[in-house]
Subunit: 136 residues, 6 copies
Amino acid sequence: MSQPPVVPLVEYDRASPQVRAVYDDIMATRGTDWINNFWKVLAHDPALLKRTWEGVRDVMKPGALDALTKELIYVAISATNGCDYCTYSHTASARAKGMSEAQFMELMAVVGMANQTNRLANGLRPPVDDAFLPRA
Amino acid sequence: MSQPPVVPLVEYDRASPQVRAVYDDIMATRGTDWINNFWKVLAHDPALLKRTWEGVRDVMKPGALDALTKELIYVAISATNGCDYCTYSHTASARAKGMSEAQFMELMAVVGMANQTNRLANGLRPPVDDAFLPRA
Amino acid sequence: MSQPPVVPLVEYDRASPQVRAVYDDIMATRGTDWINNFWKVLAHDPALLKRTWEGVRDVMKPGALDALTKELIYVAISATNGCDYCTYSHTASARAKGMSEAQFMELMAVVGMANQTNRLANGLRPPVDDAFLPRA
Amino acid sequence: MSQPPVVPLVEYDRASPQVRAVYDDIMATRGTDWINNFWKVLAHDPALLKRTWEGVRDVMKPGALDALTKELIYVAISATNGCDYCTYSHTASARAKGMSEAQFMELMAVVGMANQTNRLANGLRPPVDDAFLPRA
Amino acid sequence: MSQPPVVPLVEYDRASPQVRAVYDDIMATRGTDWINNFWKVLAHDPALLKRTWEGVRDVMKPGALDALTKELIYVAISATNGCDYCTYSHTASARAKGMSEAQFMELMAVVGMANQTNRLANGLRPPVDDAFLPRA
Amino acid sequence: MSQPPVVPLVEYDRASPQVRAVYDDIMATRGTDWINNFWKVLAHDPALLKRTWEGVRDVMKPGALDALTKELIYVAISATNGCDYCTYSHTASARAKGMSEAQFMELMAVVGMANQTNRLANGLRPPVDDAFLPRA
């Protein structure tokens, strides 16, 4: 129905051992039994798949920021960039991590406001106030 | 030294009563005694100043999301859009609201990762998985 | 003081005849006696200089839309993209073509609003209403 | 057929009184008897719906710039940002406000040209000419 | 099935002589017997069609950079901007010009990395090293 | 003179052993004896520094695409995104890898053209031609 991906999906049963190892880690880390399509297109380059997955896995785990906050930030950037796949997948992830609908709508309100004021600043070019400059 | 703003800064003592009323609300809401340059350029259109300030004030106050989380999202969008003024001002705001340096660096890590995978999805165009589609 | 351009400025008196011909057309078309820096960096590729200038010249002349309206659109896009040079140069052009400060501030209000609602639509993904679809 | 919105559409007959009041104002302002989907997704946050609608309503009404010029600017930004919904809806609005096909195609020509020269300036980084700097 | 274009497609047999002349040049230059939809929408403004086609034709022909390298750059920008049509069409063109699947996946890896580090630099704002500044 | 970075630069002699190990690898890989500022800001998060450096190092080394082609793509994306630091640093890198000025100007021509046609496609929304769709 929709447009096909730019490269075919690499399904588990046709994947190389190197790709399967990443798929296995994705499922183990997430506690799921399926792989979403984003990884299935990256799998055409096993090094890219592995590096990207390990980056996402390490960056998105709880640290100084909790996992839900990180996911909200991911959604905000995806909406800002207009990425269709990312908007659906990370909104679903955020909901799975406990995002309420009230939180989601407030997130959208912040996204809208930030994109608005970013352009007002870009068009009017106020100088950065001294009080906002970090001490070098 | 740096480039002048595209419109002059409207300082408090030369502002109209309508603009002063907004400036007063900004300072009262924030508990500060100065106005940052962003508002001083918007002040050339008092209606735009009022609407933008009231939007920011209402959107950024704690609700389903706390004030710091909202500020982190603002920083993330400003870095994604490459807005110079917004990056400095909202990073300063986030620090004032308690953002630690560890939180800031993790935020940057998420910003980098999201901008990377957004483009991988845009270039490879995986179809959105059924599991990610909201039930209509 | 500020950073140097990525390629040196090609000044008129050191320019090739091919570049001078474009510079002359720019000054004749605009009724000015100087060339702004944008063209002086493009001049390193005379074909790029000529094609870009002729494109700008032909697109920006009055047609179904008047010259000021076109310049306002240019400013709106430059602010949206965050292009520093373009924001200053096209705002100056718009003012030279008669843009009032009230028009400029209203333009900024539209720019801010459009960037806000663009992201709300990108994040919430409402389906396009049938009434908005052109008849094929 | 297409992907569902990220949140369900809030139809008039299931809307709260607060949402209905905004819907009523939209229809009264526009002289129409239906609500487009953008507002139906925003309606999950009545405060966001109200603030966004009132912002759009006030910003887009004729002032120093006429209503059609404002709509052309909205279309230009939506195409620049690649917002699918916004492109269809604001092009439809611009046509309803009298935009001719010749005007639309000229608008697209300006959009293309501005996005081109914005990136040439971003890549070559010419310094802003003194003549373009506003007097502080 | 999918959304109609914002303006109807101008097919060859209904095109004006001016448009047909461009279509003929496109087919002759490419050695094909069909016109892709991008040109069929631009054809509503014959001057825009002609200028855009001649620009693409001249810019994309081999010069200091070979034709495939130029096409890879086009794909990289289209993915960065999230342009759906451009991603499919220029990836197809790159493949037709000999891009291997290994080259395509490496291209995507660079696109992802550049978009990541661009935002890290935009968020952390390191000063440009003197060693990177061109000699004026 | 210019604005300070958002976090202080971490110089080699004050860096932790973990950071120094990355700095050493950067210098060894590049055959240089200094570290550019981008890495000095990332160093506040040693894990982010290490992951980003190893990603850049592995992605940018010659493979199916040669090192200069990859650097050209990096410059193209940096100009498209308007990243100041990235434009200067990657243009310098490309020159160090042998990019001629003629190649650089042709690169800019492609960047300009792609950003133009991306927006024409986004505004006019031609359907993707069947011939451009990959076979699933």
